[in-house]
Structures are given as C-alpha cells and as structure tokens.
Subunit: 408 residues, 2 copies
Amino acid sequence: MSDIVSPLARPFTAMPPIAGVTLRVARAGYKDWGRCDLTYAELTEGTVVAGVFTRNVCCSSEVEIGRANIAQSQARALVVNAGNSNAFTGYRGREAVEGIMAQVAAHLGCPPEQVFVSSTGVIGVPLPLDKAQAGLGSAFEAAPCDWEEAANTIGTTDTFAKGASATALVGGKTVALAAIIKGSGMIAPDLATMLGYVFTDCAIAPAFLQDLLSTANQTTFNCITVDSDTSTSDTVLAFATGKADNAPLTGFDCPGADAFAAALHDVCRQLAQLVVRDGEGAQKFITVSVSGAVSDDSARKIGLAVANSPLVKTAIAGEDANWGRVVMAVGKAGEPADRDKLSIGFGGVWAAREGQPLADYDEAPMAAHLKGQEISIEIDLGLGEGRATVWTCDLTHDYISINADYRS
Amino acid sequence: MSDIVSPLARPFTAMPPIAGVTLRVARAGYKDWGRCDLTYAELTEGTVVAGVFTRNVCCSSEVEIGRANIAQSQARALVVNAGNSNAFTGYRGREAVEGIMAQVAAHLGCPPEQVFVSSTGVIGVPLPLDKAQAGLGSAFEAAPCDWEEAANTIGTTDTFAKGASATALVGGKTVALAAIIKGSGMIAPDLATMLGYVFTDCAIAPAFLQDLLSTANQTTFNCITVDSDTSTSDTVLAFATGKADNAPLTGFDCPGADAFAAALHDVCRQLAQLVVRDGEGAQKFITVSVSGAVSDDSARKIGLAVANSPLVKTAIAGEDANWGRVVMAVGKAGEPADRDKLSIGFGGVWAAREGQPLADYDEAPMAAHLKGQEISIEIDLGLGEGRATVWTCDLTHDYISINADYRS
C-alpha cells in the first residue's frame, strides 16, 4: 500500500463476519515491504464457488488452474499472494501454484482443486515456492483477522483498503455478503476484472451463483477502466458457505433470489467503483452515461472509448469542458453513431445538441462542476434505446510518476 | 508551433520545388497566435489527386466533402486552416468549407470540387468564414513561400516543421516528391492518419496513385500511434502535377512504377515517423517489431496494442525494461497468441523466450539501450510468418501538461 492515499478514497466500511469464512494473513516476504502479503481464507466444507477471469491470453497459471477448477464448484480455501503476479513464468510458475494447493489441501484434508490461488504484482518472476510455503505455515498458525486487514494484505499499488457488503432477505433468512478487492492500475474492461472476492453465507446452487456473478460482472467490473490495460491475472471469485440456512437458491423462481441478485450486483458495483477511486494518480471520479445507442452493448463500448481516451481524461484533469474530445472518442469507438444526432453534456448541462455546439449555453455551472471531484459526462446518441454507465478516473501526472518507476 | 522543440526533432530536410505547385501562406487569425495559419497551394491544370481520410464517424465537413470530391480525381488547389478543426459544427461548418471552395474556384476559374480544404485545431467551433476569406484574399496576393514555411503554417501543437522528399527514375525521367505533414497529438492508427500532403511532378493515372497511396498508408501512417486517439479530421492527400513529362504511370507494368511506389512509400514512412518524433511530450522514439504472428494484419494489431499501452509507454519513459507489461499488452490485443511460444526483447536482447524469463540474460546492454532516445521492442509470437513494425513514443509528464490545458 502506498503512503499517499487517493483523494477519492472511501473509508473502509463496517463489514459483518460471514459464517463459514475465516481470514488470516502472514508475511511471505515476496517484496521487501515489511507488511503482510499473503492472505489465507479458510472456507467451511460445502462452500460453493463461482468465478470470472481475465480474457488476456497471456494469463497466469493461477488463472488457468482456477478457471479449470471452477467446474467442480467446491472451495475450501483461497490464497492470495501480493507482490508477485507469477504471470509469464512457465512451468516454474505452475509448480509454485500447485505447491501451494498441495500444502493447503494437506492441511485441510481436501482435494487440491478446492484450493483457489491468486497472485498479483510484477510479471515474469516465478513465485518463490519456499517463501509461499513458509508464509502459509505462518498463516495456518495466525489468529484470524478482519476484512480490513485482509483487504490491505491483497493490495499492491492500492492506496486504500477496499471492501463492500450487503444483506438480502432470502426465504425468511437474512443472508450477508462481504467482499474485498484490490486494483489500481492495469485496469481495463471488456475482458475481465481485477482481484476481487465476494463471500456470502447464502445457500445457493453453484450454477446459479455463476450466472448471477457473470451477469453482475457485465455492468460492474466490465464497466470500469483506469488505463485501458488488461491484467494477466484478473479474477473475481464468489464463495457461498451456505451457513445462513436459507432454502438453497437454484434460480430466479426461488423466494429471495431477486433480492440476493440485487445485493450481489450492489456489492460488485461498489467494489468496481472503489477500484476506480483508487485509480493510479486519480484526482477525479468520472461517470460516463451513454443513452440513445443502438444497443446496451454498443453504449458500453462507446462509454469505454470515452473513458479510455487519454485526451478526454487529461481534459478532465485540467478541468476543461473540452467536449470536442468526447465527440472524437465517440467517433473512434467503431460503433454506430451519427454526428448530426449526437449530444454531449457535462454535469447535466448540454454543451452540444444534435451535432452542433449550443451557442448560448451557460458555461458557469459546467465550469463549477468540472472543479469538483465527481464528474459526469452525458452522451446521447439519438439513435435507439441502448444505455450504459461506465466509470473511470482522470489521467494525471501522478499516473506517469507511479508507472515510470514502479518496478525499479 | 510550440516554443519547446521535441528532443526527437529532425532538422527540416532540403526539399526540391515541384513543378506545377506554388505555395503561399497568410494570417487568417483563427487564434491569437501572431503567425501564419492559412496555407494555400495552387496546382497546375491537369493535377490529379488521391487521398485517405479518417474513419472517425464524427468526421469534419472538410473530410466528408474531400472524400466525395476525390472521385473526380482533379485538383487545382489545397487550403489548410490551422487553429480550428471546424469539426462537429453542423451546417455552419459545412457552409464555411463551401465558402472557401467557392472563393478559390472563382479565383482560379475552376470547379469548386477541385479545391480541397483541411482544417485542424479545436473541435466544435465553426470556422469563421470572414476570417478565412480575408486570409485567402491575402494569400492570393502573397509571394510564394518554401516547403518549410508551409510545413510550419499547417502545424498546431507541433513543435517542429515536418517534411520529406524523394526522387524516382520513371521511364528515363527523374520525378520528384515533396511532402509535408502536421500532427502531434490525437494520433492513432487503424482508422486513418493526420494532415499530410504529398506533391509530385510525376505523370500518373489517379486510380493508380490512389492504389499506391492506400497501400503505403497501411504500413506507414496506419502503423503509428501517439495516444490511441483518432482525430476527426485526419487526411492525407497526394497531388501529381504531371510536369515531369514522364510517360504516365497507369500500373505496375509501366517502367519506373516500382521506383515511384518505393519513393512514395519512403516519403510516407518518413512523414509518419516525424509525427511520432513530435508526439506530445515524447522523449523517446519507440519501434515495435512484431514477427511470428499468424498474419501481417494480426502482427500490426499486436504491435499497436503494445504501442498504445500506457503501462508500456510509461515504463519506457522510466527507462525500465519491464517486459512483463509487453506480455500483458500482447495478451490483451485480441489476436492469436500463445503465452508459451512468446518471446520479448529490448534493443535486440531477448528478456524472455518461449513463455519464460531468461534467467541468465545480461541486463547491462538492455539497460544501456533504454537510456537512449531510440528504443526498440522485439516481439516474436512463434506462430507464423506475420510481421509488422509500429512506431510510437513514450508517455511522459509533458503529455499530461500539454493536454490538461490545451483549450484554455
């Protein structure tokens, strides 16, 4: 974790314990940073798991193995290594992941495929298995910790701990969700996400949990971007311990399924927005609202083209209502758009309607809006009913400073 | 033109006059910058024209009209306005372009569709026709100027004048090419280019000139990127006056066609690289060489994914051989790649071969290479015969500074 906290940071929210989940952290010493860097979550027998993973084809062994093991739906443990992503490390990287899985499986007496491993940090350095195993040994002996300590431990360039929680009434039982996430740079959408973990005591069929997670992912994690760069290690896992004793959810016809789906979506959206709030160098949180597109998917792609445009992001950093750059970004998105039907606004004030600048709009409220921390950009295509909301941050000098000397 | 010249600048090359082309500049006063901002090139009767234009769907009226008028193949004049792109200005913008065309057509006694207009600068402000017409009136009276003055006059955030020239022996006659270009930010490939103009005295059929220009464009202008943002006004036009008196080129079976095509490609490549050398905030010129892809097109897309990655560009700015970020960018390109066949190098030294870091490579020559101004990144996919070379620059604090307060 960095010493300088993002100006967009949010205090860590009070989060309930989740029955069946025990968190512990330890120092494996992957980097010389004098803090815990290994997180170990033990999950009760019968916990089911769902997941979404990066579509970066140069993905890590952790992602490859995790994606394969999601199929058997059962999870007994999660191990997260911070400081080394173990990506692009060939058979040595794979051996390290398998070594961690074997050690935890022996400790718990479970099959190794029920142990899920994530790693985050520099690419191309094999994860040192000796450090991982010593760290795990310490974690097994450690006292349980709270969500905030776990959220801090999974972080790398993150500047604050990020978590979210929710509850839902399911068949007369209150189920709880608690979730943590890390991510700050190398954050891009369309492919997948970052390292995020949702825990719930809800009893739910794994296939339904996977459906709900995949659906929520589309309008939450897949609608954020910090820098258009998609990590090799992105993973979101949802673990359900079943300890809430509700009648198991198997589909939307079950009582409480809608409430649980809404709670899961809410937690995912909170996590996704927290990642943007910790975007490297971020000074402003930007909401891009697209309407009038030919489809929701087209709206999302246009929103992301705007949110990924360095010229739009630097204009916001400069508090400049340079809506011409928004026009440019809409036009390069590769999606249907008609220049002469396009409208652009900032903070709820239209600067251009239907392809022409408004000669007489009042710049004062727009200028005041741009001086704030929470910026909104409105885009109406005037073509159809497609809508999307995308979140990003501005592009500042600090992004350059953070990334021009990250590894060294 | 900026006061601070890019450290990657090249001196303006000595360029020959082209028979049938007369250049003049004037002050239209589109911005308060006390310099010439209107360029007027008069072309002899019988000049043929070919062009490539931005694929940004929010393109300017200049692009729309120019694209339509390329079909009739004849050109008598080029007018370039600097300081206002006239993009996204609706019917008022279109009227300004038509007004300029009418004025020049009356002056030369030619059809208005033989007058090509480009504008570059801020988006969303209608080009003031009164200023344009007064400027044109001055230009008609002005003494002819040289290539360097014209190259300076078409620039906006450019920090140095950019031109290139070549000759080719065509059927016993020496034909000359001279070309100028502007561009520094909002430069991205795949769609089209920036404002570039090639002039030649070669006699050539317009359809063949268009073929050669479109082909050259694919491996030159479409292989550069500064910031992944594609302008609404990008245009490259090639004008051939026919004054070299060579037997007209109509296809590759004509003597000298290969030589002319090579000279045209060479000029386009020089111009494209000069734009990268003037990339906003650029400190380093980066050549990304991709081999072993499944096709040349796939190689180009992978090269551009690397060249557009802010994390790769900031790593180069930081002189950090962070090849893991190159792996990430290859993996997110959406093109066929196999992590375990992928090799990455800097400055001709492999850091990783076939999916694994080389444990014993000598970092010293690579570190020395990264301290230089001319950086090369080598990527071998190990899949096929596809190759491409892409050029870009690093991403520095100056890019942020330039773009966070450009408009204001």
